[in-house]
């Protein structure tokens, strides 16, 4: 596991934010992990970013679900974070991944609508993190593969974002590019 102290600190802060139902803090914590994901491109940092973002979205939508179902799943989420903190402290990456995977499997037991929503949230969390990684300068294909999504999903998401507005993105005078392209198609 790369940057273990960072993931550990992050999970502890995430737990605190969940208990306070602090959605903004959770999203902020998830974004912090994007730096590590972009540099190290390792599964553990990525999982932490996805899980924390998904948690924020789940709390954001809690009014959609029955309070019993929501509380039950949130407890499971918190329990998973506790277990993950322990695993990361002991440097057992496999166990950390195992806990996250078990938590996702548990969502299969939820009522249909809630289950579908949880799956949708996790998918969206992957796409959201991918768009941030792309914004950090990693290519579209590399990012899509890293986050386990298709380039089609990513293209739809990054289009409206501001990454193409950075001045560094303009690498050739547009007039020259268009003129040369027109000549090529003559």
């Amino acid at each position: 596991m790369i940057e273990r102290p960072h993931i550990l600190k992050l999970l502890k802060q995430a737990k605190k934010a969940v208990l306070n139902q602090d959605i903004l803090e959770l999203k902020n914590l998830s974004d912090q992990t994007v730096h590590s994901v972009s540099i190290y491109q390792d599964e553990d940092n990525m999982l932490a970013a996805i899980v924390i973002y998904a948690l924020a979205k789940l709390i954001e939508r809690k009014d959609k679900y029955s309070p019993q179902d929501f509380d039950k799943y949130l407890k499971l989420f918190i329990h998973t974070i506790d277990d993950s903190i322990e695993c990361v402290s002991n440097d057992s990456c496999d166990e950390f991944r195992g806990h996250i995977s078990s938590m996702l499997k548990e969502s299969e037991k939820l009522p249909k609508e809630f289950k579908e929503d949880v799956q949708f949230i996790f998918r969206k969390a992957r796409i959201n993190k991918a768009s941030k990684v792309y914004e950090h300068g990693i290519s579209m294909e590399k990012t899509a593969k890293l986050l386990g999504i298709s380039q089609w999903e990513l293209a739809e998401y990054v289009g409206p974002m501001g990454a193409s507005e950075y001045p560094q993105t303009q690498t050739l005078d547009i007039k020259k590019r268009v003129k040369k392209a027109m000549e090529f198609f003559e």
């Binding site: 972009s38 540099i39 300068g137 593969k145 298709s150 993105t169 690498t171 590019r177 392209a181 198609f185």
Partner: protein, 226 residues
């Protein structure tokens, strides 16, 4: 002979905007070939065929391949193994340029590298070619690598060390995006509606489906009198 090498992103943008018909017209009016590598085929056909939301796009793109609007490098006498070998070298080179905290930042992947490899092979054979690519990283890496370092540094909030560079030859790669393709199709009269509004709609549609073009570039394109 001229060749346009397509990366997956450009074809995805055109497909999602229902502009594949425009691509067919462009190909019919072009004295050359539109080519994709096998890696790109995987991304535009094989993978999306397994995702219901994008399956129709994949089927339409598959038809372009069977109609030979999009062809493979073999149609130019270029073997896949030759592309793979050069792609591997490109990947190795590109992914060990930028370092953060002593760790190489991997910036591109096989599909993008295969487009660069094919372009290089064609250049060596003196075949005029351009790459149509919508994502920005590969383009910046070849055209202005120092800008990529700046983006990485600004976004990662950490010092980025440049320990290498791409071969100078890659500076000779010329890139366009789906945005320029739409502009060309419009200017060639391949789009029936020749209103300013239509041009504006076309160009922005590419931007919102993934083409890395800025709003100011689009405005400038609209003012051009070519």
């Amino acid at each position: 002979m001229k060749v346009v090498i397509f990366d997956s992103g450009t074809l995805i943008t055109l497909s999602m905007n229902d502009l594949l018909g425009m691509l067919v017209e462009l190909r019919k009016n072009f004295r050359g070939k539109f080519v994709i590598t096998k890696d790109v085929e995987d991304e535009i056909v094989k993978k999306p065929l397994t995702i219901k939301k994008y399956k129709l796009g994949a089927i339409r793109l598959r038809k372009l391949i069977s109609d030979k609007i999009l062809e493979f490098p073999e149609s130019l006498g270029i073997d896949g193994s030759e592309i793979r070998k050069i792609s591997y070298d490109i990947l190795k080179q590109a992914n060990s340029i930028y370092f953060s905290k002593n760790h190489p930042v991997h910036i591109i992947d096989t599909g993008e590298a295969s487009a660069l490899a094919l372009s290089k092979i064609l250049r060596d054979k003196k075949i005029d070619n351009i790459i149509a690519i919508d994502e920005r990283t590969t383009r910046i890496l070849c055209e202005r690598p120092e800008n990529l370092r700046e983006i990485l540094e600004n976004k990662l909030h950490t010092k980025i060390e440049e320990r290498g560079s791409m071969d100078k030859d890659f500076k000779n790669t010329f890139f366009i995006r789906s945005t320029e393709l739409a502009y060309i199709a419009f200017k060639k009269g391949l789009i029936e509606d020749q209103s300013k509004d239509m041009l504006d709609a076309l160009l922005y549609s590419t931007k919102f489906k993934g083409s890395s073009v800025s709003g100011s570039e689009i405005k400038e394109m609209e003012r051009l009198n070519l």
